[in-house]
């Protein structure tokens, strides 16, 4: 049995616009996705901001009711058996929120230990173990408002593990951390699967998913656009080339013309200091440099280079389709 099973999962939000003449509008955040996560697996849900990662995770942790499809965690339906699901999962999200700043790190953990039903006689030892695991031992009696971002993030991780959950959901746990802090959190995540936990991780960092995950699903505009092991995903874009053109203020029409060229797989525009860089992924055996420059006629063009595609390019190609 898979630890997490998702079938045709959908979520639509209703929102209103206007002040006097209010209009209701539906936004499809997740549009019928399917995936399964095996027990003990570290599964990455990878996608850009607004792709539907957090909405998916919130349906799985019972905070949102799906508008369609089914989801089961450890064989339990996330809507019908929400209470039992909550008992057996942990949830950690990135950023500085989610902490009672006026309480000490220890009091934060004590409160959540109570909320998660950790037996009173085990709480002290469990909190001590977790403080050691996340490197906060010795700082636990300081108020959380004085913690650095990285320390708060590690406190989140400790909180999510208090009740020794079987499945752990990590929603962008390294967002906003400095490289050292992010590496420490990644090391902690790696140790979770060694301890036999099933982990679902959302991230928009390709290298993070590559380094940590056994399986990756790439989500874009609420749909899964690719799924497989990191190696399988890399193989999908190993052929072809990437042309990078430094250009100053490219017009949208020019970018659209490049995108329409035969042999172009994807086009993205990256901001680099004063200029923008047009990153064009091309099909194998096609030379498009002149055609691309032709499309940019009239724009100030700087350096032009060609290189092999990376995993990052694979991701960009997938999410910009």
């Amino acid at each position: 049995m898979a630890a997490i099973e998702v079938e045709g999962l959908r979520r639509t939000y209703r929102t209103t616009t206007g002040s006097f003449r209010r209009r209701s509008k539906s936004i499809e955040a997740v549009r019928g996705i399917d995936f399964a996560v095996g027990e003990g697996e570290l599964f990455g849900l990878l996608g850009p901001n607004g792709a539907g990662k957090t909405t998916t995770i919130k349906m799985l942790i019972t905070l949102l009711i799906p508008t369609g499809g089914k989801a089961r965690v450890l064989g339990l339906d996330v809507v019908e058996d929400a209470k039992e699901v909550r008992r057996r999962i942990g949830y950690v999200f990135g950023g500085e929120r989610g902490v009672y700043e006026r309480l000490s790190g220890y009091d934060n953990l004590r409160y959540f230990a109570e909320l998660y039903g950790v037996p009173a006689r085990e709480q002290k030892a469990r909190i001590g173990e977790l403080l050691e695991l996340v490197g906060l031992a010795g700082r636990e009696h300081e108020r959380a408002e004085g913690y650095s971002r990285g320390m708060k993030q590690r406190l989140h991780v400790a909180r999510g593990l208090l009740h020794d959950p079987e499945v752990i959901f990590l929603d962008e746990p390294t967002i906003g951390l400095d490289p050292v802090g992010a590496r420490e959190v990644r090391a902690t995540i790696g140790s979770l699967t060694e301890a036999g936990k099933t982990v679902l991780l959302t991230t928009h960092y390709m290298f993070e998913a590559d380094a940590l995950c056994d399986q990756i699903a790439v989500i874009s505009h609420g749909k899964i656009v690719a799924q497989g092991t990191p190696t399988e995903l890399k193989r999908g874009v190993a052929e072809g080339a990437v042309v990078e053109v430094e250009v100053f203020g490219p017009a949208e029409e020019a970018v659209a013309r490049v995108r329409a060229l035969d042999g172009v797989s994807s086009v993205s525009v990256e901001e680099r200091e004063q200029a923008q860089v047009l990153v064009v992924q091309t099909a194998p055996g096609v030379e498009l440099t002149h055609a691309i420059l032709g499309c940019l006629d009239g724009a100030d063009v700087g350096r032009i280079s060609q290189r092999e595609p990376t995993l990052e390019d694979a991701y960009v190609a997938l999410v910009s389709e």
Partner: protein, 256 residues
């Protein structure tokens, strides 16, 4: 037992958070003193010592009520701002065990309001603080705190579903002063007002506190106050699951 333990620990932690906020603390220190001063000047003109104690007790309960009504809404709003609301909702324990200690913590701060108001009246205006039945007075104060906490809990449940409902907390602050007889006896109000007053536990809590202080029979009022407080909690618990389901359907839990 574990539910009681959770209530106790959460209540202690809520009090810690309230006491560590300089702005909340400042408001809690200053407000009761204003209430006491206003009540004294209003009642000084026509009253003897007994009337002044009557007014002073009313001002004290005004402070207790204000602490609960305005803060129970903002307490939930803070959980949204801090990003902790989703975490406590997704915990396996019943959400009422999260809300109730929060509002009881706020109501407990009301005890300080009561003591500060009475002392202010004694020290600055010489109001005699002779309490006829000290033990019943203490029970009445505790019953009022519990009932106010229960009413705050009922408010807070709706604040979870409706983000802007915390404004209602402010809206209820002043009308309750009037319709629950904190300063003006209910007998002076139009005849259609008292039936409304009777469904509010503060009316009975106020009566119990006054009866025990001024020498009367506070027990019936005290019991009605506790019964109403328990009823608020029972209704709150019953609607919590429905409210949370509605919030999970609408996706409003993560909104600030």
């Amino acid at each position: 037992m574990s539910a009681l333990r959770l209530l106790r620990i959460s209540w202690v932690l809520q009090l810690k958070m309230i006491m560590r906020s300089p702005f909340d603390g400042f408001g809690n220190v200053i407000y009761p003193l204003f209430f006491a001063t206003v009540a004294f000047f209003v009642f000084r003109a026509g009253g003897g010592p007994r009337t002044l104690l009557y007014a002073s007790l009313g001002a004290a309960v005004m402070g207790m009520w204000s602490s609960v009504s305005t803060s129970s809404g903002t307490a939930m709003q803070r959980e949204r701002w801090w990003g902790t609301l989703e975490l406590v909702v997704s915990a396996p324990r019943h959400f009422s065990l999260v809300l109730l200690p929060a509002t009881l913590g706020l109501a407990t701060v009301g005890i300080y309001n009561l003591i500060a108001t009475l002392l202010w009246g004694r020290l600055l205006f010489g109001i005699n603080l002779s309490i006829a039945h000290p033990l019943l007075f203490a029970f009445s104060v505790i019953a009022a705190v519990l009932a106010f906490g229960g009413l705050g809990f009922l408010f807070a449940v709706s604040f979870v579903r409706y983000r802007y409902a915390w404004v209602l907390g402010n809206f209820f602050e002043y009308p309750v002063w009037l319709i629950c007889g904190f300063l003006v006896p209910l007998t002076l109000l139009p005849r259609w007002v008292p039936p409304i007053s009777w469904v509010f536990a503060p009316t009975w809590g106020m009566n119990a506190i006054r009866e025990s202080a001024l020498g009367g029979t506070p027990l019936p009022d005290l019991l009605v106050c506790l019964a109403l407080g328990s009823a608020y909690v029972a209704v709150g618990i019953l609607v919590t699951d429905r409210v949370l389901r509605a919030a999970r359907v609408s996706g409003s839990l993560s909104l600030t």
